[in-house]
């Protein structure tokens, strides 16, 4: 054993110290740097020759950009305690930012350290050296911070979730209120519908009574005027007879008006039942009726074949009855006339027209054509109630279509409509 110890080479303590894996500084009692391990140099991004012999606080000042930096004062206090008590002093984890070399921009890099200062006593018991050993715990702190951050995020998420819950609750309340209001609105709508139904029924009853009760006295006026004309003819002079005939005509005109008004109102209320309607056949049958009614007239009907439309057959019959009767009526003063029915299109939609070469109308007054009780001709010229075209227009509108008229005085009229 003895021989073994003698054969040992003397260790190069300096080399061993500088190569030690820990981060070590050796300070003189007046806190100048006497020795430094390579690991310390790497961690602090410093070089041995630039720091040896310099005061520790000169080499490692506080980060001037970090007003909260306490590294220097904490270290100073710890080193003072080592001086006084000659005992190792472990410091709490310190934030001490490391300044990068000027070549790398000289900026401070955030670092956390766990330092420990240990005294090395001389032969007389006095303080000879201070070993300043640190561990770089930046990664550990960052990890901890990350965890803290995660906790914070979790917390935030939880509070967000709570906020959302609160919001959901609030929204649910709003929704409930909205629902209540909606229910109220629905009830109101139901109520309105019921009232509308009542109003409609009243209107029906009114129409019925107009149809029934208004005609009865008219029948009496008309019938008894006729009875006087027949039974008391011999006692009536010319003028008396004329008056009675006017009475009869007035009653008949009023009856016609009542019927037309009823039809207009019926057309507005009737349920619309769409099906495919053969318009050519419909026009043909009405034309035949007109001819039969007045076979002496010289009227040519040009009916385009194969015209079909989707619409309510009964309402469409009323449309063509009115348009064709008008055409028939307004060509009545011409010795010969042509009435034409055909299909066309308007804005890409199918359209149909009824054209005549009769009395026509003043285009400036075309706007009044479709108004109820609007007449562009005097009753003595062409009799009528002025309701027919209003009825036609209402039917066309109920089908979602539109109708318009073109014409000129004595140049005929064309009525075109879509459905």
């Amino acid at each position: 054993m003895e021989s073994d110890r003698e054969s040992l080479p003397t260790p190069d303590f300096r080399a061993l110290f500088e190569s030690a894996p820990g981060l070590y500084l050796v300070l003189t009692p007046d806190l100048r740097i006497a020795a430094v391990s390579d690991a310390y140099l790497r961690a602090t991004m410093t070089r041995r020759e630039t720091i040896l012999g310099r005061g520790i606080f000169d080499v490692f000042p506080d980060n001037p950009d970090d007003p909260a930096a306490t590294g220097v004062s904490n270290l100073r206090a710890s080193l003072e305690r080592v001086h006084r008590f000659r005992k190792p002093d472990a410091m709490a984890v310190q934030k001490y930012d490391i300044r990068r070399p000027e070549a790398e921009g000289g900026v401070f890099e955030e670092r956390y350290w766990s330092p420990m200062n240990s005294p090395v006593l001389g032969p007389g018991g006095g303080l000879a050296w201070i070993i300043h050993r640190v561990e770089d715990v930046t990664e550990f702190v960052r990890l901890k911070q990350a965890r803290t951050e995660q906790t914070r995020v979790t917390e935030e998420l939880r509070s967000r979730a709570e906020e959302m819950e609160a919001e959901v609750f609030l929204r649910a309340q709003e929704l409930q209120e909205a629902n209540t209001r909606l229910r109220g609105a629905n009830e109101e709508l139901t109520d309105l519908t019921a009232r509308l139904e009542v109003a409609n029924r009243e209107l029906e009853a009114f129409s019925y009574s107009v149809s029934h009760d208004l005609r009865t006295p008219l029948r009496a006026i008309e019938g008894f005027s006729d009875a006087v004309l027949q039974d008391y003819e011999s006692r009536l002079d010319e003028r008396g007879g004329d008056y009675l005939r006017r009475l009869r005509a007035g009653a008949q005109r009023m009856a016609q008006l009542i019927d037309d008004m009823l039809e207009l109102s019926r057309v507005s209320r009737a349920e619309l039942r769409r099906e495919e309607v053969d318009l050519s056949a419909l026009v043909g049958s009405i034309a035949a009726e007109l001819r039969q009614r007045d076979p002496a007239r010289n009227v040519e009907f040009l009916v385009a074949p194969g015209a079909v439309a989707s619409g309510d057959p009964r309402l469409l019959r009323i449309v063509f009855q009115n348009l064709l009767e008008n055409a028939w009526k307004f060509t009545g003063r011409h010795p010969r006339a042509t009435i034409e029915f055909g299909a066309t299109s308007r804005d890409g939609r199918p359209a149909w027209f009824v054209r005549d070469d009769g009395a026509g109308f003043d285009p400036a007054r075309a706007g009044r054509l479709f108004g109820a009780f609007q007449r562009l001709h005097s009753a003595s010229e062409f009799p009528g109630s002025g309701i027919g075209l209003a009825t036609v227009q209402r039917i066309v509108h109920r089908h979602g279509g539109r109708i318009w008229a073109e014409g000129a005085v004595e140049k005929g009229a064309t009525f075109t409509f879509t459905l």
């Binding site: 019925y208 029948r219 008309e222 008894f224 009875a227 008949q252």
Partner: protein, 152 residues
């Protein structure tokens, strides 16, 4: 040949008079019984009330029935006379002011033989009555009398 009656069910005196006049102009000489409300009409048809003792099986040649009647509506009169074996085959022509679809539909549904809307124009009314008389009183053959046991 025995001449049967015409039952005119009409509450309006003007219409009654005008209808009688139209019948007269057309020289329809059947006896006309006028009922001024629904009850009266049923009294005559079913032989009760003022007409107790009349044999209901002797149906009128023609019933001219208005719809708007006091007490009992024309449609109700029609329903009751159609549901009675003794009177269910009586020819009934509804003669009314209304040409409302609902009335026409109900009238035919309850078994009316015809539905005529009274025209305001008296000349046309006279013509209508003439056609009625021609058809129902001259051309039409009444159904055989219901057997006596068939009644209530």
């Amino acid at each position: 040949m025995e001449v049967r009656t015409i039952l005119l069910v009409e509450d309006n005196p003007d219409d009654e008079l005008l209808t009688l006049r139209a019948l007269e102009i057309n020289q329809i000489r059947n006896e006309v019984v006028v009922a001024r409300d629904g009850e009266e009409a049923l009294d005559y048809l079913l032989g009760r009330g003022a007409w107790a003792g009349r044999d209901p099986r002797r149906i009128p040649a023609l019933v001219l029935l208005d719809l708007n009647l006091p007490k009992l509506s024309g449609l109700e009169v029609l329903r009751r006379l159609r549901s009675d074996d003794r009177t269910r085959l009586a020819p009934v022509v509804i003669l009314t002011s209304s040409k409302e679809e609902q009335d026409r539909f109900s009238g035919y549904s309850l078994g009316a033989n015809s539905y005529i809307r009274k025209p305001v124009d008296f000349a046309r009314f006279t013509e209508a009555v003439k056609q009625l008389g021609l058809y129902w009183l001259l051309l039409n053959e009444l159904p055989p009398e219901a057997p006596a046991a068939g009644g209530l």
